[in-house]
């Protein structure tokens, strides 16, 4: 089976291209448009304000949606149909710990930049769907918080916040999870963007209450290719970006044992996500962003 022909617009989803765009809104728009071009309209109709078509009334249809103006002109009963719409607020939890600042030679953007692009794109897309969107930036503490809103200026607010994010300090998931629970945010989607260098148990304990609240959780794991398959030319000590711990690792370990450990780590994370019915998306900083947006759309579709 021949490979599907790539949409020319999707070329723009490459992070290397996006990194040349300085305006985050422009990045987001480029990404979203590139994704949307390749999608078909949803065959399902809903109750949004966007008019779809008229349909002759048949038995079983809700008589409240009969367009009486058309009936007055043509004495035929038509039902007015709109494009499907769900009121799903999106809360983006963005990890801004020091490990997110990592960038290898293989990648053109750091994990933090990539995460920013993803967050901006998600926010843009949600905003375009008239969904309320919010942002919480955290490391060891919550550094910035914008509650979900569907107001027209909300996207600019979020993009402005993302512009200021700096990768530093460590990662603690309990803080943002606890705060979201405490704030009583309306049921919706929660997108967690992080590299997830943490203990699975503590991650589960942090995320599980959100799942119990009815939140749909998306875990976007951002990784640099060098983290998954490291290439060390010269053996030497490696310094943990968050803790400053220096570990001298042999070349053999990095080439053989570390990739296995990393796969195990990812698998464990997927299991942890499955345990709370969350969706886990692994994204490498060299890959296009559409994978992340597709995940968002999939969730949104699931909720509608």
């Amino acid at each position: 089976m021949p490979a599907p022909k790539a949409n020319p617009m999707q070329r723009l989803l490459d992070p290397a291209v996006l990194s040349s765009l300085s305006n985050l809104e422009l990045v987001a728009r480029t990404v979203v448009d590139g994704v949307m071009v390749g999608l078909h309209r949803s065959p399902r109709f809903g109750f949004s304000q966007e008019f779809a078509e008229y349909k002759p009334y048949t038995e079983g249809d809700d008589p409240r949606y009969i367009d009486w103006n058309v009936y007055a002109r043509s004495e035929r009963t038509y039902i007015k149909r709109f494009r499907g719409e769900t009121n799903s607020p999106l809360m983006i939890l963005l990890d801004s710990s020091a490990s997110m600042g990592y960038q290898s030679e293989q990648s053109t953007v750091s994990k933090m930049q990539y995460a920013n692009y993803l967050a901006a794109s998600l926010a843009y897309m949600a905003s375009k769907q008239n969904d309320a969107v919010g942002l919480m930036v955290f490391d060891e503490q919550v550094r910035d918080y914008r509650p979900p809103s569907s107001r027209s200026g909300q996207l600019q607010v979020i993009l402005h916040c993302l512009d200021k994010v700096v990768a530093e300090r460590g990662t603690v998931f309990e803080e943002p999870a606890t705060q979201i629970g405490a704030l009583g945010i309306k049921k919706g989607m929660v997108a967690v963007i992080s590299d997830f260098y943490c203990d699975y148990e503590s991650l589960l304990q942090s995320v599980r209450p959100l799942a119990f609240q009815g939140q749909d959780i998306m875990m976007f794991q951002i990784m640099d290719p060098a983290e998954i398959k490291p290439e060390i030319k010269q053996p030497g000590p490696l310094k943990d970006a968050e803790t400053g711990q220096v570990v001298e690792v042999s070349r053999e370990y990095m080439q053989k044992q570390y990739p296995i450990k990393m796969q195990q780590h990812i698998a464990s994370l997927e299991n942890a996500a499955a345990a709370v019915r969350a969706d886990h998306v692994l994204m490498q900083t060299t890959e296009p962003l559409n994978q992340g947006l597709n995940g968002y759309l999939r969730f949104r579709t699931r909720r509608s």
Binding site: S99, Y197, P237, K239, V247, E248, S250, Y253
Partner: protein, 698 residues
């Protein structure tokens, strides 16, 4: 050739080159930033540490290689003697060489120097030695040293002194010369072992020893076969007569010829028989002295064991009499007669060489011109009550300027309410103003015999006083003699820089019998010397003694001049102390025999310096005494025979020790280092290449 050569010093600096090259080339493995160390596990092999170690080993090898080459070119060698600085059984030797005046005779010093050098050459490897000179003090001149040549050079420079030997001073001086880090010490005394050098107490012959020290004492006696010695013991003068005393030690009866030189002119020569170890006096008559301080030098013409004591230097003061005014109301009174006679007697030649002649000039108080006070050092007043107020003021100025007044009480004092000059109050009542003995005469209860005026005077019990001025001494007065009723008889008062001495009774024999007693002459004479400050100059001294400030300041003192500025010229005409710099005079030692001239602005004096008579005594310490000394110091007897045996045993052992050439060892070391460095660097290089290829393949 040694490492001190600049070229090799530069070569040694080059050894730092590998260090800098390694510093430049060594790439410290950079710490690579990694997102998280959560999935990392440290390797067992600390590869970069190993790499650093390899670099370090190579660097050290290269530095050592360069150093070995540089040192090898310097051709170092090692003397076997210096291998062990302090070995077990090493001894700290204290070599004491007697350089007292007695060592100047009959090659004694040359012999002990040779013995000392022989000993130094025979010292065992690891022994150290200190070199001291002993006479009336102990002086360190060399060491501690392990090097015999240093000590021998110091021994060669030793010269004999003119001082007296004192074994007590020598041994106490050694007390602080035992190093604490040495266990075995040995004192070697190279001396003629004169008996006269012994201290009065045997205990002074034992030095203070450090704890747990083992100290021995050994003697190297230097005795001449012919120890007969004669010396000129003294010179005395009486008018135009000079008497010279001769004494013999260890001598037979012999005739000795003596020559007398006065003021550098040989006057006469005489011979006299001297009994075995006896004394003789040669009298020279008709010697004409100049009216000044004369140099008299007597010499024995025949040589003997000790030449330095064959001469005697003697200064005779025949300066013209010094005038002293006697202020009186009656120049023909008995007090004037007594005083004039006493002062003429005091100044008589042959009686005391330290005193001057005095000529009393009686002058009526009304005729006395105060302006003449400038001519006098001191003034006599036979009745202090006769001083009118105007003259009193002048006398006070005279005293404050440094002059002196000797005054007695008299009839004129009784009518006054206050004693002139001294300021003491006199009771108005004539009955109470005089202390009058009713039944018995007053006596002298106490005298301060340490005062120069009363020093050595005897016969106070014969003094009877019928009347005296009844006054109370002030706190500032120094009472020199007390009456039996507790009142002062003689007191001294300081007025400014001057001295006032007051006798509370009269100078005639109406109130007392002092003028007719023998002590009167001594009293007046010593008062004259004290008040004129002529007593300070001692014109005979022994070699090794010192000239003090007061002795120089006493030279020709005049009114108002208390300065010690002056000049000392030694017997060789060399100026020791310049004018105005005599603040350093306090300890000026007389190191030569002969005449020292003392000059200051107001006059000059002469000091005859001779060696101590004890140095002429050639008798030696007995063997028993030496054994006791050795036993006391070390706790074990050591006889002179043993010492002699050791001397012969030591001998001259000038072994030529082999020298170890180190450059061959260094060349071998350099080759070894070069080989090791090559092998290691090749091995490391291959390993690095292997690792690099492995990394590329993966």
């Amino acid at each position: 050739m040694g490492l001190l050569a600049p070229l090799f010093a530069l070569g040694a600096v080059l050894a730092a080159l590998p260090y800098f090259l390694h510093r430049l080339s060594t790439v410290t493995p950079d710490q690579q930033e990694f997102a998280s160390a959560m999935l990392l596990s440290p390797t067992q092999k600390r590869e970069h540490v190993r790499k650093q170690l390899r670099y370090l080993i190579l660097m050290i090898l290269r530095i050592l290689l360069l150093l070995a080459i540089v040192f090898a070119f310097a051709r170092p060698f090692m003397d076997q003697d210096s291998i062990s600085v302090y070995s077990q059984g090493a001894v700290n030797h204290l070599l004491v060489i007697d350089v007292s005046a007695s060592m100047s005779g009959a090659d004694k010093l040359d012999n002990v120097k040779q013995a000392a050098k022989d000993f130094v050459r025979s010292m065992k490897r690891g022994d150290q030695a200190q070199l001291f000179l002993a006479d009336n003090q102990l002086r360190s001149i060399a060491g501690p040293s392990l090097e015999p040549n240093t000590l021998i050079a110091a021994i060669d420079d030793i010269e004999v002194s003119r001082f007296k030997l004192d074994y007590g001073v020598m041994m106490s001086g050694l007390s602080s010369r035992f190093p604490d880090d040495w266990f075995d010490h040995k004192i070697h005394l190279f001396s003629d072992l004169q008996q006269s050098g012994m201290p009065r107490q045997f205990a002074k012959l034992i030095p203070e020893l450090p704890a747990n020290a083992n100290v021995e004492l050994a003697f190297y006696p230097e005795r001449s076969e012919n120890s007969a010695n004669w010396l000129i013991e003294f010179i005395d003068t009486d008018g135009d007569q000079v008497r010279v005393g001769i004494k013999g030690y260890q001598s037979d009866q012999q005739s000795r010829a003596i020559t007398l030189v006065v003021n550098d002119e040989e006057i006469v020569e005489q011979s006299i028989d001297v009994l075995p170890s006896g004394r003789a006096i040669v009298i020279f008559d008709g010697i004409q002295f100049k009216p000044e301080i004369n140099r008299v030098r007597a010499s024995l013409l025949q040589p003997d064991t000790l030449e330095v004591d064959n001469h005697f230097n003697y200064a005779v003061d025949r300066s013209p009499p010094e005038p002293v005014p006697l202020i009186t109301v009656n120049p023909y009174s008995r007090s004037v007669t007594y005083m004039s006679t006493a002062l003429r007697t005091v100044g008589a030649p042959g009686n005391s060489q330290t005193a001057a002649n005095w000529t009393v000039e009686p002058v009526m108080v009304d005729n006395f011109d105060p302006r003449t006070l400038e001519r006098y050092n001191w003034v006599l007043i036979d009745d202090i009550g006769l001083i009118p107020q105007a003259l009193e003021e002048e006398l006070v100025r005279f005293l404050q300027a440094g002059g002196a007044v000797f005054a007695a009480a008299g009839e004129r004092t009784l009518g006054l309410t206050q004693v002139p000059l001294s300021g003491h109050s006199v009771p108005d009542d004539a009955d109470t103003s005089l202390a009058i003995a009713q039944q018995n005469f007053l006596g002298v209860s106490r005298v301060e015999s340490s005062h120069p005026i009363l020093d050595g005077l005897k016969g106070w019990v014969d003094i009877s006083i019928s009347q005296s001025l009844s006054i109370e001494a002030n706190e500032s007065d120094r009472v020199l003699a007390w009456l039996s009723n507790g009142e002062p008889l003689l007191f001294e008062q300081r007025v400014g820089r001057g001295r006032l001495v007051v006798l509370t009774t009269s100078l005639d024999n109406e109130w007392n019998n002092i003028p007719v007693k023998p002590l009167f002459v001594g009293l007046i004479g010593q008062a004259a010397n004290y008040l004129s400050q002529r007593e300070a100059v001692t014109i005979q001294k022994l070699a090794g003694e010192y000239l003090y400030d007061d002795e120089l300041s006493g030279v020709g003192i005049q009114q108002g001049e208390q300065s010690t500025a002056g000049q000392i010229i030694n017997p060789f005409g060399e100026t020791l102390v310049e004018l105005g710099s005599t603040s350093n005079l306090s300890q000026r030692q007389l190191i030569h025999t002969g005449f020292y001239e003392l000059h200051n602005a107001s006059g000059q004096s002469l000091v005859g310096v001779n060696i101590a008579p004890a140095e002429s005594d050639t008798s030696s310490l007995s063997e028993e005494y030496l054994e006791q000394w050795v036993a006391a110091v070390s706790g074990q007897a050591e006889t002179i025979e043993n010492v002699k045996f050791k001397e012969s045993e030591s001998g001259l052992k000038n072994d030529s020790k082999p020298v170890i050439e180190l450059w061959r060892i260094l060349v071998m070391l350099a080759l070894f280092l070069l080989l090791t460095e090559s092998l290691l660097s090749t091995f490391y290089l291959r390993r690095a290449q292997l690792l690099e290829s492995q990394g590329t393949n993966t």
